[in-house]
Symmetry: C2
Subunit: 237 residues, 2 copies
């Protein structure tokens, strides 16, 4: 029986659920540029990413894109369609990098989730944390202005996708275009470009091969008056 709350580590999270998914109905290849699903489509399936990268985003009517997360191996997508009575995907799942996903039927997963307390616990824990992350993230995006939104996004990217280098810098291990960043923080490509260049000038970060390395994370944190909330909360996702 689940009593004590386990340490929150990406690696350990959702282990039982992932195990279940691995025994999935079937495997599906995904190709860059295609959509695994799009918002509005009826959702019958969830996916466990085995390899490749998928960007989850939501469009507004006038073509602007709000990017929520970038998922890679080990992550589950389509999860928010569980237990809803309007079973449509809310996000677009665009493939950024070829790979494979394990496919599982939503009905089956809902059944299993309710039958197995361990699964239940893991899923509720994940949902709670998801909601908590979301609150802080959007407060930042809305209240800090566009520059603050970018800085906040970069900080979260460090926590979500960052690799610490020997010199203490943090490599955000994702190929990100200016436009991608703009979609994450609700601004324009041009604005992102100018802000990134300013940060480059100051030596706060550098960019090689489309990947950003943050040299002075503290500078960014100071600028947004970061309250150093726990790393499991201060994330892109």
């Amino acid at each position: 029986m689940m009593t004590a709350l386990q340490a929150f580590e990406e690696k350990k999270r959702f282990v039982h659920l992932k195990e279940l998914l691995r025994s999935a109905n079937h495997i599906q290849k995904i190709k860059k540029g295609t959509f695994l699903f799009q918002e509005g489509m009826v959702a019958n399936e969830l996916y466990l990413i085995l390899s490749g990268k998928i960007q989850m985003s939501k469009m507004s009517q006038d073509g602007k894109e709000m990017c929520f997360r970038i998922c890679s191996a080990g992550e589950i997508i389509g999860e928010l369609t569980l237990f809803t009575n309007d079973p449509k995907y809310l996000l677009n799942a665009k493939v950024m990098e070829d790979g494979e996903v394990a496919v599982i039927k939503k009905d089956y997963l809902e059944e299993q989730l309710l039958l197995n307390p361990t699964l239940t616990f893991e899923y509720m824990q994940w949902l709670s944390n998801h909601a908590r992350r979301t609150q802080t993230k959007f407060r930042d995006l809305i209240l800090l202005g566009k520059k603050g939104a970018l800085y906040s996004t970069l900080i979260r990217m460090c926590n979500s996708y960052g690799i610490r280098l020997k010199d203490g810098s943090i490599l955000i291990d994702l190929p990100l275009k200016n436009q991608d960043l703009a979609n994450f923080c609700g601004t324009t490509r041009e604005s992102v470009n100018r802000m990134l260049n300013a940060l480059k000038q100051e030596g706060i970060l550098s960019i090689h091969k489309g990947k950003i390395t943050i040299h002075d994370l503290d500078y960014l944190k100071r600028e947004v008056q970061c309250e150093n909330c726990p790393v499991e909360i201060c994330r892109i996702e």
Copy 2:
């Protein structure tokens, strides 16, 4: 008598959970202007509101306030502290109107939730819907600009707190100051004031005794290119 738009789900949602909460540890009076809890405080308890109104918000370091929801009788607050290993409240619960809350221990509730599949189901359903609501709401706040943010907020307020009048108008049954609205949509009191006055000029809405009545909801929807997502999603909360 008027038909509350929100009746459809709010009343039915969470029934078993609410029943559980009603058999709570004890009852606590709440007084206007005080905080039931504040962000950062260790969370041992959840609350079911029996009467009164509570505003849930989050502050940024520089004093700006992001308002998430206004809760009244029948709603549960503090729920996102369940199943996390960093058991701190993430929001401030400010009492807007005197009342009473039922108090329940978090530990006990977690236990009960896992033991009773019906409760489990209700809670997961609520969490999923919460996450879905949040995604659409913040996309709007971030991508639509401040005017769009206000319009979107007004539309959601209609769905969450609206009462349909005989002439088809919708009364948002909450006393809202300009500053409150500003906190909901991430702008300033002055901007809200100007935008509301413009809408008054056009006859889109009117204000009496601090409560807003929307006469032409479709105008607002058109302006934000509303995609008419389901009412259980397009809400303040």
